[in-house]
Amino acid sequence: MQEALIQRLRSAVGHEHVTARPDDLRNYAYDGSIDRAAPEAVVFPADAAQVAAVVRACEELRCPYVARGAGTGLSGGAIAEFGGVLISTARMRRILDIDAANRTALVEPGVVNAHISAAVATLGLRFVPDPSSQSACTIGGNVAENAGGLHCLAYGVTSNHVLGCEIVTPQGEIVWLGGRENETAGYDLLGVFIGSEGTLGIATKIAVKLTPQPETTRTLLAVFDSVDDASKAVSDIIAAGIIPAALEMMDRLSTQAIEAYVHAGFPTDAGAILIADVDGLQESVGETAAAIGDVCRRDGAREVRLAKDEAERERIWRGRKSAFGAMGRFSPSYYVQDGVIPRTKLPEVLAEVEAIGRRYGLLIANVFHAGDGNIHPLIAFDEKVPAQVDAAIAAGADILRACVARGGSISGEHGIGIEKRDCMNVQYAPSDLALMAKLKAVFNPGGLCNPAKMFPTSRRCGESARTLQRADLPEGIAPAAGPAF
């Protein structure tokens, strides 16, 4: 890295908040996904002005830069594929304002998702989006990925709970998108920014919506002998007009992985289990839970269990949230897919996932946000064995193709990043992608802000070599380089 740039970074954020020591950088080469590449420097700005100074330095000296929250992303979004500067939000973690009367809060991007709800709990409020990683991931990362959560079925995803953002644009300007209130006039630039995976700028303040805590919540666990029966129950519950706050499914491999350490009380011999949360007023909650229980039993559930207290509820949800990490029981790495399919196609897609696993000789566990048809097949592999890495990636691509073939999508909530960019062609026509590229060029004309993420490269979906090399960086990071960039 150029010494001149390092100097600029140091004067922007302070000497001790920049590191370019190769040893330090090794720990910034990974996130929660399977890609790896080390940046050339990591900076830890304290506020928007410092972020802007860093961005301007990078732009002027033509160096790529990438924002990083907690590094729990599952699509390689925070990987500095071309080296360059990684901008960590670890020091921007203040909750700046809580407005209980208007039910909003203003937070910095490095605030951990779960810390928002914790801070407003005594006011009877919460921040609804609750990704399974909520104890670690940041609100900045949530905005960038438009993260979903266990309770998105009834309450919506991140974009439904963010009112506005202050961002630093790739031009180094500090602008506000959206409002602090619900309605704004003009183009919905906030809508464009949320889910843009850090390619349109860096969020430096976020105004979030707070929601009253429900009066009561009941959690129900239904045990099925087969995934087919459980899937049918999911469709029947929704068809009956019931909207549970959350409706999650796990297959046998997942419950086995979880029970090995977390002890959530899941049966390890069941074909599939369903977990449903019902919340609202005391009286109605009991009725709805009973109605869900009836549907499950009618569809063949061999056991329906209602959590008896808060401790048991917490145990069940902790079990569910542990599903990805628990894969360590089976293999050192897992490659998680994030396809979305129409709910009715669940059994058929699952059968195909199983066949794909057999074809590649890989173990695949399944966890789903069943209510939204968002499936998370977890492909177990060992990163130390190159052939297994290739097989896992190819299997993942086959799964995504299967989803798109049934009218679904390649990503529900984890984003495209590096991992799924070459599969964008499977879902979008060239003209769709060209329009997106034009939009990106308006915000990020130099292409230096999180380069090459989200858009397909010259590779095919499922081809093995994944992270691009510096030499692959499109020439001069040409502006509006079209769908290839």
Binding site: R21, D23, D24, R26, N27, Y28, Y30, D31, G32, F44, A70, G71, T72, S88, A90, R91, R93, G110, V112, A114, S133, S135, A136, C137, I258, A260, Y261, V262, K321, S322, A323, F324, G325, A326, M327, G328, R329, S331, P332, S333, Y334, D382, K384
Partner: protein, 437 residues
């Protein structure tokens, strides 16, 4: 290249099978005190595991960076409790530090400290008489009520004051300790069990009153309490610092001392000691003579709160109208999975108002010798803890480990607070005693 050494050597190394359990999901990051404070990935559990794994895979060498970040870890094992994959971080850390210790030039601390450490770990800790002799001044200060307070006139940053602040303070109603622990104390009433008590090093020197309370409470609950001779320090400080050879000697001595007595349980009232003693099997797994006895020994080790909670307490408490909060000792909650037992015991005392501490299971920063090796970090962690403790306005903060007691004592003294720090068994003892008084 100076400071760079090759990979792991010998069988006592972070096992790849353990490292492979980590999927880098990151769910442990916010549980980690050093990550919360520093926001720096190399100071997170995931970061440290990654560094150890890179060495295991030959992608990196044992170097200064690894040494610094393994030693900046508190060893609190909070990451283990939240990890969904069951990564045995405590074990990885011990082996990781052991490997670093094979390369003296990498010691992350000053020369003076290293010399002190060598003396402490290799010369003093293994020798009971020497340890006790050196602890004499501390014992003297602690044994006279009010003496420690005399040091309050020294300025805050003064090192002597900080050391004196850490000393346990004795309640006026408790008699000063007799010179030796009785080798056998018979059960009061029907005998329900025969147990042995580990005295340890720091506990034995500075917390005799806790031992005495432990013996009284156990006896009242139907235990014959034996204090076998030949026992000494459990070796925890050595294991945590990567000094495994001496730790093994200490373990063998304790196994011999307790092995001869037919005991239902080996009772420990120091969380750090208990956690290590429950792992004697792992420590001595390659010792053909001791591997089996070590496992048998480990299986009988019980923390005193764990044991009492399982035994169902005999009644006989008087009302104890005090407000008590409880700070989890890391090596109890994260190391041994014991958290509801001490709370249940406290809540069994009539009249006692129990107040849950905010973030009770977060480390207080004591962490063995951490407050000596990383004073600034330890202080920052302690400040956060004391903040939460003071919020409770309790009369007493209960704990179950000498390191935590001393750290909390120091933190409270710094703030000029009069809140008392007591072991859980001392509070039980006080409730029983109040009845007989």
């Amino acid at each position: 290249m100076p400071g760079v050494s090759p990979g792991y050597s010998g069988p006592e190394r972070p096992a790849l099978a353990d490292l492979d359990l980590c999927t880098r999901c990151g769910l442990c990051e916010q549980a980690c005190p050093t990550y919360r404070l520093l926001g720096f990935e190399p100071d997170s559990p995931r970061g440290r595991i990654f560094l150890m794994k890179q060495v295991a895979l030959g992608e990196a060498e044992i170097n200064q960076h690894l040494a610094d970040h393994l030693y900046r870890c508190l060893g609190c094992r909070a990451c283990e409790t939240v990890c969904p994959a069951g990564v045995p971080f405590g074990r990885l850390l011990e082996y990781g530090r052991f490997q670093v210790e094979q390369h003296r030039d990498l010691a992350p601390h000053s020369k003076g400290w290293m010399i002190f450490r060598q003396l402490a770990f290799r010369l003093v800790l293994p020798r009971r008489w020497l340890f006790r002799a050196l602890m004499w001044p501390s014992r003297a200060i602690a044994s006279v009520p009010g003496f420690a307070a005399a040091f309050d006139t020294l300025p805050r940053g003064n090192r002597l004051r900080r050391l004196v602040d850490m000393l346990p303070r004795r309640d006026k109603h408790v008699e000063p300790s007799a010179s030796a622990m009785p080798p056998v104390t018979p059960a009061i009433g029907r005998r329900r069990a025969v147990v042995g008590l580990l005295l340890g090093c720091v506990m034995d020197s500075l917390f005799r009153h806790t031992h005495e309370a432990t013996v009284r409470v156990l006896a009242r609950n139907g235990c014959d309490v034996r204090v076998p001779t030949g026992q000494w320090c459990c070796g925890a400080l050595n294991v945590h610092a990567g000094e495994r050879a001496i730790a093994k000697d200490l373990a063998r001595a304790n196994i011999d001392a307790f092995g001869r007595a037919p005991l239902d349980a080996i009772i420990v009232n120091s969380a750090g000691c208990g956690a290590v003693m429950k792992e004697y099997g792992e420590l001595l797994k390659d010792d053909s003579e001791y591997a089996q006895p070590a496992l048998a020994f480990a299986a009988r080790v019980k923390d005193v709160t764990e044991f009492l909670a399982e035994t169902s307490l005999v009644s006989g408490f008087a009302k104890l109208p005090i407000a008590v909060t409880y700070q989890d000792a890391c090596h109890l909650v994260h190391g041994q999975g014991i958290s509801h037992q001490p709370r249940a015991l406290l809540q069994a005392i009539p009249g006692l108002r129990y107040i849950e501490l905010r973030n009770a299971s977060q480390c207080c920063g004591a962490a063995g010798v951490y407050s000596l090796t990383h004073p600034h970090l330890a202080q920052a962690i302690l400040d956060e803890k004391i903040e939460a403790v003071l919020e409770t306005s309790a009369d007493v903060v209960a704990t179950a480990n000498p390191g935590c007691s001393m750290q909390l004592q120091a933190g409270l003294a710094q703030r000029g607070s009069r809140m008392r720090v007591r072991h859980v068994v001392e509070i039980l003892d006080e409730a029983y005693a109040a009845r007989s008084r």
